[in-house]
């Protein structure tokens, strides 16, 4: 297991408004290597916007996003666009709710894993294919499917392939937007177990946005609760869920169905 500790991400007073609708209001937090931070909140609370500001996709109106690289710290929105477009793919990985948004459907499963590796400088065909095979195995996809198009995969397999594509380059920061969102409950459980063991094995820093309290409980070490663009409560996941202080968090937790 990789050691925990080094700070990977620091967000300082992030603001983003769409027209007159505030999506992020003074959001600040930091994240260390090996930590999984869950962000929960109802639709429209600003959690997906926040994720896209961290992924270099949406420019915040104000605030700072600092991402630590090997031996320097990058101010994501202070750098010029060309540098950002070079920096983000090698450092940050965004896993989408819908695997079709994160995969290239017209190239093979193996190609989907190899492509970001090639963008990061990988050239040798044999070793790219070997890495792709290794990752297919890690995410529980039969290696014989390496030349198949993701189009013919089930939703759960597509999502696992997207995760392999996202993690194969060893990003420092992984951002997940409802990673188990569109899946059957039985497939969800398996994917959660996979994500947990990968996070443990690779020691990556993860931000996972979800509206599913159960997913947050099983995956995240820490939790932030957002409402109308603000972080209204944060702490260790079990603390926030078992001893919520804010009225909205209490409502959220007491509304979960127990089966």
């Amino acid at each position: 297991m990789k050691p925990r500790g080094r700070e990977v991400l620091r967000v300082k007073r992030l603001f983003k408004t769409f027209g007159s609708v505030p999506a992020c209001r003074a959001v600040s937090f930091s994240l260390r290597q090996g930590e999984v931070l869950g962000i929960v909140g109802e639709s429209g609370s600003g959690k997906s916007t926040l994720l896209r500001c961290l992924a270099g996709r949406i420019q915040p109106d104000d605030g700072t996003v600092l991402i630590a690289s090997d031996d320097y710290v990058v101010d994501l929105w202070a750098m010029d666009e060309a540098s950002r477009e070079q920096f983000v793919p090698t450092t940050v990985s965004l896993i989408h709710q819908n695997p079709r948004d994160g995969l290239r459907l017209e190239i093979s499963a193996g190609g989907n894993i190899a492509e970001p590796l090639m963008a990061a400088g990988g050239r040798h065909y044999g070793s790219l294919r070997a890495t792709a095979l290794e990752w297919l195995e890690k995410v529980d996809i039969d290696g014989r499917r390496i030349d198949d198009l993701p189009e013919v995969f089930s939703g759960g397999m597509q999502q696992r392939l997207q995760i392999a594509r996202g993690l194969a380059t060893h990003p420092r920061l992984v951002l997940m937007d409802e990673p188990t969102g569109g899946l059957d409950v039985s497939v969800q459980a398996k994917l959660l177990d996979l994500l947990r063991s990968l996070v443990l094995e690779l020691g990556i820093a993860v931000v996972v946005v979800t509206h599913d309290i159960g997913v947050a409980r099983l995956l995240a070490d820490r939790l932030m609760v957002m409402q109308r663009g603000r972080v209204i409560e944060e702490g260790l996941t079990d603390q926030v869920l078992d001893d919520p202080h804010h009225p909205y968090t209490q409502l959220l937790v007491s509304s979960v169905l127990h089966v």
Binding site: G5, D243, H245
Partner: protein, 244 residues
Amino acid sequence: MTILVSVSGLSKTFTLHTQGGTEIDVFDSISLDVRAGECVCLHGPSGAGKSTLLRSLYANYKPDAGRIAVQHDGESIDLVSAEPWEVVDMRRRTIGYVSQFLRVIPRVSTLDIVAEPAIVNGVPSEAAYATGRTLLSRLRIPERLWSLAPATFSGGEQQRVNIARGFMVRYPVLLLDEPTASLDAANRQTVVELINEAKSRGAAIVGIFHDEEVREAVADRLFEVGQSLVRKPRRSTAAREAAA
């Protein structure tokens, strides 16, 4: 003996915003020292706040005031004000907690669930699984169940899986919430043995034991937890609620 856990001035109040802002004062200004090799039994009537205190010692509940100094890595760290990542590290290596109910990822096998705490501490998986098998055998979980997920197990079996998991790592501090509640006599005896083994290797143990026989067999002293007080909503809370 060394004090491993030192609680001072600990207070806890719950404010139930979804229930008209009712406030429950669970405890006020509690102080308690727990030494290496000793087992303290939290004692008091149902609803007195024993579980709340135990959960506070695991940082599962957030006290409103006071300190919980825990010896971690040769240092004294206050669990109440520690950073989340510090708490995660303390839970991983120093503080073990056996809750009343098993809460795990669905469909993960019993042996994997039990071995996990050792594996996250860097124990090679072979050794971790060997310890896990030994514990499951001692707690009389039939071998044919080890590869199955515990979701369909009986209450007593789930509790024993939980206990096995809690004893996988030699935590210096161990918190036990009614570990024998739904166990038969033979398994109660095994749990008593596990607790006494932990004590003799120097663990500081805090537990809730309703079973008198178990309590007699493991507890060195009782710590009385008082009756909590329910207060009607304060005006300010009700006003906040209305405004929300």
